[in-house]
Subunit: 274 residues, 2 copies
C-alpha cells in the first residue's frame, strides 16, 4: 500500500451527527484535510439492519476511495458497530470507528466497574460495546439502553427543553438504578445533549464522548503508520471537502453551526451508484 501522507482523511456518517467527530479531528489534528460524507438521503441508520448498514457503508467507502483518502473514520456508532468488522477486511487503507475508542475511554474512566451505554436501537442490539469492554476487562458490567427519541429531539433543536429532560429521565432511570459511574454517549448526536444528560444523571457519573477519543486514536494511528501530513498550516483551516446524498444546502448550514472551519458548499453525491 502506497499512501500519500498529504492525502485527506475520509470521515463518514449516516447524516450530520458525525460532524461532532469531524469537529474533534479538526481541533486535535488541525493540519489534516477531511473529506466528509453524510448519507442524508438514507439517514438514520440506527433502526436499520446489519445487512443494510453494511451495504450502505460499502458504497460510501467506495466513494471516499475515489477521493483518494489515506484513512477512513466511521464517525457513526451504528455503522461502526455493524459494518467496521466486515469492511476493514475488504479494503487496504486503515479504517477506524468510534466504538472501540469510546469503549477504551470508558474502561479508563470507571471506578466501580459499572458502565452505561446509550445509543441507537441497532447499536445496542449489536452488543459491541459490551463485547469490547468485556474482552478487555471481564469484571466490568455494561448496561445498554436504546434512546431512539434523542436524535429527533436534537434535530428539532430541543437540546435544553423540559420535554427532553423528561425523556432523558425516563431513558436514564434504569441505568441510574444500576449505579453506573460512567456513561458512554454512543451516538454522535448525543454530545449535543451533554449538559442536559449530565444534569439528569448527576455529577458523579463521567460522560464519555467517543468523538474526542476517536480523534486521539486517529492521531496515534497516523503517527504509527507514518501517515501524518507534511503540510503544516500557520493559521486557518486546511481544504476540507463536504459531500452529502441529499439536502446539501441544509447540510452546509448545519455544518457551519458545528464546525470551527467554514463550509462554503457541500457536493451532492448519488451514493446508490457506488
Amino acid at each position: 500500500m502506497l499512501s500519500d501522507k498529504n492525502a485527506p482523511i475520509g470521515v463518514f456518517d449516516s447524516g450530520v451527527g458525525g460532524l461532532t467527530v469531524a469537529r474533534e479531528i479538526m481541533r486535535n489534528l488541525p493540519n489534516e484535510k477531511i473529506v466528509y460524507f453524510g448519507d442524508t438521503a438514507r439517514v438514520p441508520y440506527g433502526s436499520k439492519s446489519r445487512d443494510t448498514v453494511v451495504r450502505y457503508s460499502r458504497q460510501i467507502v467506495r466513494f471516499l476511495q475515489t477521493q483518494e483518502v489515506k484513512a477512513i473514520v466511521i464517525a457513526c456508532n451504528t455503522a461502526s458497530a455493524l459494518a467496521l468488522d466486515t469492511i476493514e477486511k475488504e479494503i487496504d487503507i486503515p479504517i477506524i470507528g468510534v466504538v472501540k475508542p469510546g469503549a477504551s475511554m470508558a474502561i479508563e474512566a470507571t471506578r466501580n466497574n459499572r458502565i452505561g451505554v446509550i445509543a441507537t436501537q441497532s447499536t445496542i442490539k449489536s452488543n459491541l460495546y459490551q463485547t469490547l469492554i468485556g474482552q478487555s476487562n471481564p469484571e466490568i458490567t455494561v448496561y445498554g439502553k436504546a434512546c431512539p427519541l434523542f436524535v429527533p429531539l436534537v434535530e428539532e433543536g430541543w437540546t435544553k427543553d423540559p420535554v427532553t429532560v423528561e425523556v432523558a429521565k425516563r431513558y436514564l432511570k434504569e441505568l441510574m438504578e444500576k449505579d453506573i459511574d460512567t456513561l458512554i454517549m454512543g451516538c454522535t448526536h448525543y454530545p449535543l445533549l451533554r449538559h442536559l444528560l449530565q444534569e439528569v444523571i448527576g455529577d458523579h457519573v463521567t460522560l464519555v464522548n467517543p468523538a474526542y477519543e476517536t480523534a486521539q486514536a486517529l492521531k496515534r494511528m497516523l503517527k504509527e503508520m507514518d501517515l501524518e501530513t507534511e503540510e503544516i498550516l500557520s493559521e486557518g483551516c486546511p481544504e476540507h471537502r463536504f459531500f452529502a446524498s441529499d439536502g446539501v444546502d441544509n447540510f452546509s448550514a448545519y455544518a457551519n453551526t458545528i464546525l470551527p472551519c467554514e463550509v462554503s458548499s457541500t457536493g451532492l453525491v448519488a451514493i446508490e451508484s457506488y
Copy 2:
C-alpha cells in the same frame, strides 16, 4: 391499457405508516388484493428533498409494476406531496395519493373556513394541501405545522404518554390560536395519535384522516374505470402480499398489530436495483 380486474392494488409508503391506509382499503374494499411495499431501508421520507423522494418513489413504482398491479396508492403523505405529480405522467396505470382525498374531506368538514394541517417537514414545505384547498375554495385559509417528533414518538409506542401530550400542546398551540375547526392528520403515523390529538385540540375540531378518504377515492376510481375485482370472498381475506426493503421480520410483527388480515411473512426487496 389492458388491466386485469382481478390484479392486486399496489400500496406503498416510506415504511410502516402506510399500513393505516392499507387497513382502510382492507376494511372498505374487502375483496381487493393488496401488494404493500414499505421502504424501511430508507425511511423516513419526511425530511428528504423532492428529488430524492421522486427517485425512491419511481423505484418502488417499478417494483410494483413487476407485481402486475392494476392501480397504485401512494400511502405516504410526503411521497404523495412530492412525487405523485411527476410519476402519474410517467406510467399508464391509475395512481392516487393521500393528499387530494384528505384535502377534499377537510373542505367538506370545515364550517369556519380555517383548516390546520400537521405533517412532516417536506409535506409542509411542499404547500400542496394549501394549494389544492385554495384551488377548490379560495375562501379557506390553511395553516400548516411540521411535527417531526410525532413519528418517532409513535414508533417508540408513546401514543398515550404525557411526554407526547406536552409535545402535541407545543405543536398545536399556533394552530389553536388560528381558531381552526378542522385538522388534517397529514402523515400516516398520526392517526395512531388520534385520541391524544383530539384531547389536546378539543372536541370542536374535526380530525381528518386521509387514509379513510383515500380508500373511498380508490373505490370510486376502480368503479369508474371498471377495475373492480370479480373475485368475491364470502369470508376471510384475499391473498395480500407484503414487501419491505429492510427488517422484514419486524415489519411483519408490526403489520400484524395494525391490520385486520394476517401477515404471515414479508418479502425482502433490494429496492435500489429497480
